[in-house]
Every structure is written in structure tokens, then in C-alpha cells.
């Protein structure tokens, strides 16, 4: 029989819910960095500059083929040696944002490459500039097919936030660990953390699907 203590549950719940707020901030903030930086990475790889394309492609490859945990440690502990002294929060958001930016840039790239060549040509035929072509024609069409991938990474980033606990960001996992260590009880905090993650990620995935459908309909991309 499981030895679940209800009064202990009530006692720790407020702390864990507060920590869930931090988890949301970490995931949301990291995602925001990733969404913007990822687009920069994707577009940089499409400029005529071969050097820039090369550097960004290698950077993306590097980030994708090394563990997130290492990147978090690196930015937080090695950064200061390069004069980059960051708080756990800042280091965490940069690490997780950079990591997911690399993945998102591939999603964007796929989306952009999926836009038919004829769209670029039609844009040129009405004499849009390159920036206008991206902003008005290409990105609006690249986004809906990229949305499923972007949504997966939003859920992914949420699930990776516990890694920030290693540098002391007080998100859910960090809080559950310290509750466990203080009380010598792990069953309740870890179970609650699992449930909170479920309670966040399931509706998020559902919302993304809804948003995706609505966007496609609004843009006339489905019949």
C-alpha cells in the first residue's frame, strides 16, 4: 500500500504551484528567445554571404549535436572566464533559448523551402523588395506548416526546464528536490510535479492544434 500523506501534500502544494510559475516563465522566456533567434538563424543561412551561412550552419549543427545540460553548464560556469557573468536565470534562458533556436531554425528552414518557387517569382514580378517578400509573402506561408513542429518544441522546452535546476533556477524540479531533501519524502513532491507537467503540457498541445487549424483557415490555405 502506498504511503501517501495528505497533510504533507497540502503543506507543500503552495510551494510547488509557485515553482510552477517559475517553470512557465522559464519555458515561455526560453521559447521566446528560441522563436526569434531561430528565425535569425534560418534567415542568416539564406543570405548570399557564404561566410555567414557557413558560420551559422556550423553553430546550429554544434548546438544540435551536444547535450543541453552541457550547454547550460558551459554558459553558466565557463562563461565568466570569457567575462560573461550571468545570473542562473539569464544563463538558463540563454542556454535553453539557444538550444531550441537551433532546432526551430530547421523547422523554419523547412517551412521556407516548402514555399513554391512561383511565389518568389510572383513577388518579384510585382517588384517587392527581398524584405517585403519575406515579410508579406514567404513567412506567412512558411509559418502554418512549421507550426506543428514549433508546437512540439514548445512542449519539449517545457519538459527540459528541469535541467535548469542544476544551476539553481528555482523551477518545479529544483523545488521538489529541496522539499524532498528537507523532509526525506519524495513520493508526494515528485508525483505532484509530474501531474503539474501533465496539466500544463496537455492543454498546451491541444491549444496549438486549435491555433494551427484556425490560422490555416484564416489564411485560406485549406478549402
Amino acid at each position: 500500500m502506498l504511503d501517501w500523506k495528505l497533510d504533507f501534500t497540502w503543506e507543500i502544494l503552495p510551494r510547488l504551484i509557485a515553482a510552477a510559475g517559475n517553470t512557465l516563465v522559464a519555458a515561455g522566456g526560453g521559447y521566446l528567445v528560441a522563436v526569434v533567434l531561430g528565425l535569425v538563424f534560418a534567415l542568416a543561412q539564406r543570405t548570399p554571404s557564404r561566410t555567414l551561412t557557413f558560420i551559422v550552419r556550423e553553430l546550429v549543427e554544434f548546438v544540435r549535436s551536444t547535450p543541453l545540460l552541457l550547454q547550460i553548464f558551459f554558459i553558466y560556469y565557463v562563461g565568466p572566464q570569457f567575462g560573461l557573468r550571468l545570473s542562473p536565470w539569464a544563463a538558463g534562458l540563454i542556454a535553453i533559448g539557444l538550444h531550441y533556436a537551433a532546432y526551430l531554425s530547421e523547422v523554419y528552414r523547412g517551412g521556407i523551402e516548402n514555399v513554391p518557387k512561383g511565389q518568389w517569382e510572383a513577388a518579384r514580378a510585382i517588384n517587392l523588395s527581398t524584405v517585403q517578400t519575406y515579410r508579406r509573402i514567404i513567412i506567412p506561408q512558411a509559418l502554418p506548416p512549421a507550426l506543428a513542429g514549433m508546437g512540439n518544441y514548445l512542449v519539449g522546452i517545457l519538459k527540459d526546464t528541469p535541467m535548469l535546476s542544476v544551476i539553481g533556477v528555482a523551477e518545479l524540479m529544483h523545488t521538489a528536490n529541496s522539499i524532498g531533501a528537507d523532509n526525506f519524502r519524495y513520493l508526494e513532491p515528485y508525483t505532484i510535479v509530474g501531474l503539474i507537467f501533465l496539466a500544463i503540457s496537455l492543454p498546451t498541445a491541444w491549444l496549438i492544434r486549435r491555433f494551427d487549424k484556425a490560422l490555416r483557415r484564416k489564411m485560406g490555405l485549406t478549402r
Binding site: 517569382e121 510572383a122 518579384r124 510585382i126 517588384n127 508579406r136 506561408q141
Partner: protein, 272 residues
């Protein structure tokens, strides 16, 4: 004959400046020479149709003029000014992006597969260029777009996205979109080839009305010989990247001098 850049004038001047001039234009894809020293003048207001077998370089001619392709040698002039080149210290050098953009504004193009912007309505497609490029106010752009949609018989469908339009309707919107930019030259690349036979006339009648109404210069690639005969001032027969024969429709179509022209025409007429 070897050409030097100094063989090309910096500007076309005089009484009979053509709206479009290809002077000794060569285009290669790798080893393949698609156009070999093309010389072609199109006068202002003239309707020139290009016919010829598949792969003879017809589309490439239009795409070079729309600056969708670069050229390997020669110069293209539009309205007297070089398009592919620009003057620098009294010499012609490769055109900058800004120069291309300036001259390109005189040219509009319609494609075989329409290439409408799928995320915009018919009206939105026709307002995009005028607002973004010409800097028109939303009201003015909408007024102009509606007039043009009306002219192509698509005013009722103004709020539809392309996915809800038939091929013939999409192509008519595409014509309106191109005209909204007030081009001096319009290019039509097989604009009826992707259409069901019963809707081809929707599009050809719009093009016919352009010939009547506007002082537009037009270059058209088509396989519809009957339509070409009816509306062209001149027909050019392309073969292997060169103009094999050209002339007024009656003369070229009824009494072609060249064997290849004869063969092509009889093959096309047999197919119809």
C-alpha cells in the same frame, strides 16, 4: 563575331526607340546554351507572340526580361534604358539590385500556374504591390484593384482566396494583379496552358481587351495558334534558342518560308 561592351549603347535614343530590345543576348545553363545571341525588338504598343517547340527557349526570353534569370552576355533594354546593365563612368556595367528594381517596375508578368498569393484574397493580391511598392494609400489601392478586378470580371469574387477560385478565375486575378502595378510591358507565359479547355476563353478575352484598350506592349508565349493569329502584330517562331522566322501572323502562319516553321505549324495544327 566578338562583341565588346562598347558595342552596346548606354541608352537608346532617336525616333524609333523600341519598348524592349534584346541585343545579342545569350543565356546558358551550365553547358547548355538556351539562347544564342538573341536580337529582338518590340515596339511600344506592339503585341508580339512567341511560338515554337518545347525547350526552344520561349519561357527563358520572358524570364530574362522579368529579371527572374540573369543573362550571360548581351544587353536587354527597356524603354530605352539598359535593364541588365547600368551606366557607370561612361561604361555599361552589371546592373545593381536597385537598378534592376527600378527598371523592372515597368514590366509585369503572368505565369502558367498563376502564382497567386494563397494567403490573400483576390483583392489583397491586387493591392499588395500598389501598397508595398508604389506606396499607395489603402483606399487608393483598393479603388484601383476593384476597377481592375471588375475589368477582368472578378469583382464579385474580391473576397475569395485563390483556393476557392477556378483556374480561369485565378488567372484573371493574376492579370489584374500585374496590371495594378501599371506596367508598360506585360509578359504572358502560356497563361492558358494549365486551364481546362472550356475556360480558356475567359482568359483570352481579357487579353484581347487589353490589346484594344491599353497602349500596353505585350510579349506572349502560347500554343494557341488561332488566338495568336487573331491578336498579334507579329509572331516569332523560336527554334533551339534562336528566332528561326518572324513576321505578321498572316504571312508567318499562312506562308512560312522556313522548313522548321512549316513542320512545327503542321504538327500543331494536326494536334488541334
Amino acid at each position: 563575331m566578338k562583341y565588346d561592351m562598347s558595342d552596346y549603347p548606354l541608352k537608346l535614343e532617336g525616333d524609333n526607340v523600341p519598348m524592349v530590345r534584346f541585343q545579342n543576348v545569350t543565356k546558358k545553363y551550365g553547358q547548355l546554351t538556351v539562347l544564342d545571341g538573341l536580337n529582338l525588338d518590340v515596339a511600344e504598343g506592339e503585341m508580339v507572340t512567341i511560338i515554337g517547340p518545347s525547350g526552344s527557349g520561349k519561357t527563358t526570353v520572358l524570364r530574362m526580361l522579368m529579371t527572374l534569370e540573369t543573362i550571360d552576355s548581351g544587353v536587354i533594354y527597356v524603354d530605352g534604358e539598359p535593364l541588365t546593365h547600368m551606366e557607370k563612368n561612361g561604361r555599361l556595367v552589371r546592373a545593381s539590385a536597385a537598378h534592376l528594381r527600378k527598371i523592372r517596375s515597368k514590366i509585369g508578368m503572368c505565369f502558367q500556374h498563376f502564382n497567386l498569393f494563397p494567403h490573400m484574397t483576390a483583392l489583397g493580391n491586387c493591392m499588395e504591390g500598389p501598397i508595398q511598392v508604389l506606396g499607395l494609400s489603402k483606399e487608393k489601392a483598393e479603388k484601383r484593384a476593384l476597377e481592375l478586378l471588375d475589368m477582368v470580371g472578378m469583382a464579385e469574387k474580391r473576397d475569395q482566396h485563390p483556393s476557392r477560385l477556378s483556374g480561369g478565375q485565378q488567372q484573371r486575378v493574376a492579370i489584374a494583379r500585374a496590371l495594378a502595378m501599371r506596367p508598360k510591358v506585360m509578359l504572358f507565359d502560356e497563361v492558358t496552358s494549365a486551364l481546362d479547355p472550356e475556360v480558356i476563353s475567359e482568359v483570352t478575352s481579357v487579353i484581347r481587351s487589353l490589346v484594344d484598350q491599353h497602349n500596353l506592349t505585350m510579349l506572349m508565349v502560347t500554343h494557341q495558334i488561332g488566338f495568336a493569329r487573331e491578336i498579334s502584330d507579329r509572331i516569332c517562331f523560336f527554334f533551339a534558342g534562336q528566332i528561326e522566322e518572324q513576321g505578321a501572323p498572316k504571312i508567318l502562319l499562312d506562308s512560312p518560308q522556313n522548313d522548321r516553321t512549316q513542320q512545327f505549324l503542321s504538327a500543331v495544327l494536326d494536334a488541334n
